[in-house]
């Protein structure tokens, strides 16, 4: 157990917290997506730190980072697709304006 691991984990956790804050507080779809990006970044930091300092022999850790990157990119891509469709239908991607379906 080293200081570096702790520092990295702290960074990961704080990034994740900021991401959560963003995802919960933002009204704009794209901003929410940014929050999600930050959450994932936190996870990646964790993964790399765990790999480097605890399990350097387990390359599935690195693999996982690759997967998370893919997730980031793909969610971004489809998210933008959804945003475009929404924008076309409603003229805005504000979450506050998406409350027709409820109950």
């Amino acid at each position: 157990m080293t200081v570096v691991l702790i520092v990295a984990l702290l960074t990961g956790a704080i990034l994740f917290g900021i991401g959560i804050y963003g995802a919960l507080s933002q009204t704009n779809l794209v901003m929410i997506m940014m929050g999600v990006e930050l959450m994932l970044a936190g996870a990646m930091v964790n993964l790399v730190a765990f790999w480097r300092f605890l399990h350097p022999e387990a390359y599935s850790g690195q693999m996982f980072v690759l997967v998370v990157m893919t997730v980031m990119a793909l969610e971004m891509a489809v998210g933008f697709g959804v945003a475009i469709a929404r924008f076309r239908a409603k003229g805005s991607v504000e979450m506050e304006e998406a409350e027709d379906l409820k109950g």
Partner: protein, 178 residues
């Protein structure tokens, strides 16, 4: 060792700082840029932790991604320049609480767990890349392929949503008018 700790801490602070900035500007373009810096700082952390392949990949991918994001900002915001001071957030207090508690929980777990002895040395970059390749095409081949399929799906899906649909069955017109 200490050097490593220093760099990790510096880049970590940078990532956190830019992360905070993302939600503190009133311009989306600035947010996107801040996010880009944050992600780059994360990439630098990877490098500092001797994970060069992933670090480089991260920096490159994020650069692309964030530029796309910036373009979208311009598309979807009435206020691309970010001049007005409008607030784009809600339930702020709760969100801050949620973010802080999430971080606290994660930190607590990180600190309270007994992670065991740390590895002193890791393979050099070349060996790492080779090992990662072995992992990719060996045990994790199916994962890798699935990731590929997912990318394909994402492409189809993104296109499918993004391009407008015409002449759908009349039933949905009724729904639209509801």
């Amino acid at each position: 060792m200490y050097a490593q700790a220093f760099f990790v801490a510096v880049f970590g602070l940078a990532a956190i700082g830019f992360g905070v900035v993302v939600f503190r500007t009133s311009s989306m373009v600035r947010s996107a840029l801040a996010l880009l810096f944050s992600q780059t700082a994360v990439g630098c952390m990877f490098l500092a932790m001797q994970t060069e392949f992933l670090g480089v990949l991260q920096i490159m991918m994020m650069a692309t991604e964030m530029s796309i994001m910036a373009i979208f900002m311009v598309m979807f915001m009435m206020d691309p320049g970010g001049l007005g001071g409008m607030d784009m957030s809600h339930q702020k207090r709760f969100s801050i609480g949620a973010g802080v508690s999430a971080a606290v929980v994660a930190i607590a777990v990180a600190l309270l767990s007994d992670w065991g002895p740390a590895a002193e040395q890791v393979a050099d970059a070349e060996a790492q890349t080779r090992e990662l390749g072995m992992e990719l095409l060996g045990r994790s081949m199916m994962i890798f392929e699935t990731a590929g399929i997912t990318i394909l799906t994402a492409m189809i899906a993104a296109t499918a949503v993004a391009i407008p649909v015409k002449n759908l069955a009349s039933k949905d017109d009724k729904e639209a008018s509801e």
